[in-house]
Point group: C2
Chain length 325, copies 2
């Protein structure tokens, strides 16, 4: 019921997952609205269930207050179904803070995890970098950062198939003596783990280059700012191009010829490809979507949640946190 594009987009995307991947989904929200939309999709009813919820947490509500006062909001009902074992995980394109709060409140943390963190998958020229944390925690302690590295490596190994993920620490220089107080402490502690820790990584190496890593560790405050800054810059570059290109006939012709190239680059940077960003460290699976998640994002999120369940991601996280923390 949340997300900027409304329930039609959600239903549409989920039904695509049912058709393409044989997924089984439970749609949480106003049954009347949902059934009205489902009517258009002739699918096996075995693959789609509806769970009733009449409350929605708005994008601008304060998360902590909202989850306390709206116990039956759609995101809370979804999280509870995971806790009760009726679903393997849930996806929400709504209020990020409320989604995290619902997952924490209802599903709880994995034993030993100090702070769950958001794992964003950043496409590189070859492969993907998992940014941990992308925004769940500000003012992190060094030990939390170490756990972000452990959980990111588990995700990279179990879901992305990287045998020995390279783990890096985002800092203002490659040298081990560069960094703020918390980063310096995290560096020392990461060296003591059995992770494949390769040291500090600079901002310029996030998107490619020889020093790129499979897992990049940082405070959620910085992670959020870096992600939004780079998204903003990419958007600005494409808009500038569009504008310049349309100024001349030659430009328009050139642009037409380059359309496949532009499309390829846009596809690469399309976050809908991943559905959303998993919250790692909670019991069960939770994927946090962009507010503007489209049908493709819903489809891929459903597939991702099912895959996390099939590969027992949370069991692996539990074991790795127990063995390495």
């Amino acid at each position: 019921m949340s997300g900027e594009l409304g329930p039609e987009t959600a239903v549409h995307g989920c039904m695509q997952a049912v058709r393409e991947f044989g997924s089984k989904v439970i749609l949480v929200g106003d049954p009347e609205v949902i059934h009205d939309l489902l009517y258009r999709f002739p699918i096996d009813s075995d693959h789609c269930d509806v769970a009733e919820s009449f409350e929605v947490i708005g994008m601008n509500e304060m998360p902590a207050r909202a989850v306390r006062s709206k116990k039956n909001a759609s995101v809370m009902v979804a999280a509870r179904m995971v806790k009760e074992g009726r679903a393997v995980g849930f996806f929400s394109p709504g209020n990020t803070g409320a989604t995290m709060a619902a997952a924490l409140w209802e599903m709880g943390r994995i034993k030993g995890v100090e702070r769950p963190a958001i794992a964003t998958q950043i496409p590189r020229e070859e492969g993907v970098t998992v940014l941990m944390d992308s925004g769940a925690n500000v003012d992190c302690k060094a030990e939390w950062l170490v756990q972000f590295g452990i959980m990111g490596a588990t995700f990279s190994r179990e879901i992305l198939g990287i045998t020995k993920p390279r783990v890096g620490l985002l800092s203002n220089g490659e040298e081990s003596k560069k960094g703020d107080f918390v980063t310096l402490a995290a560096h020392r502690e990461l060296l003591r783990t059995s992770l494949n820790f390769v040291g500090n990584i600079e901002g310029r190496d996030i998107y490619g280059g020889e020093r790129s890593v499979d897992v990049l560790v940082c405070d959620g405050f910085i992670g959020n700012i870096v992600l939004k800054a780079t998204e903003g810059l990419a958007r600005t570059i494409f808009e500038l191009m569009k504008k310049e290109i349309h100024k001349t006939a030659l430009g328009r012709t050139g642009a037409m010829m380059l359309r496949p190239t532009f499309q390829m680059i846009k596809d690469r940077m399309d976050y809908a490809e991943y559905g959303g960003a998993p919250l790692l460290g909670v019991q069960g699976n939770c994927i946090i979507g962009h507010g503007s998640s489209n049908a493709k994002a819903f489809k891929n999120a459903v597939r991702a949640v099912e895959e996390f369940g099939r590969r027992k991601l949370d069991t692996h996280l539990t074991n790795d946190i127990r063995d390495m923390s």
Copy 2:
């Protein structure tokens, strides 16, 4: 004598400044090397002096140790000439830490300034955002961030001609309650100043949009990471395009037609346009260059230093820090 492209580039750029702007420069370094290069440029000797220095601080030397042990390194001699009133300011494309240390050690801080900070000018679609701090200080206190805002506003007003610069605070959300501990405290204190403080700015608004600001305040750790991340992404986008474009004849033709557009976008993002990033808060003027500064960067840096001197930037900084801190 420092910088990745060597003294030839430096001399070439400085002589361009002499010719185009009538600048007066002092070249600091090995006199024999410099005179050998100067020989090629028939200019009025009144506009160019040489100051002797036989030591250079390398890119990988530890700044604090280097400035203590190499008192006569070129960067130290240059800073000392500013202190002694023989130059209005200096530019160095060498070791950033050593340049800062030389400026602090020889020229000293402006009275009342807790920490000088690096001001990077980020081109927006319309205008420029001054990022304070871009990397001089990690682990900042809230009061330092407030001073970064004050000094950035002085720079924007006196050098960029913005009457009432909009000052924003980089954070993980627009709401005043978003931010890490230091950012939250700085937010409260910025509200108490007479600055035109517009509140928190998200990463996505750095490069344009309605919420863009003239001065953007952040910790130097974050500033460094954000700048390098966006530079890295821009480079990646252009490289991807180049590669894709050359795969097909159609792509190559399209690219040829779009060459003016690509060039325009590259020009906009060309840091050489500004020469380098001023270190604000020291007595006199200091501009820190990219290690790979080309002749254009040298030329523009010379012009910028002279302009800072002509407009009495450090006097304005002194007054604003006294009145607003």
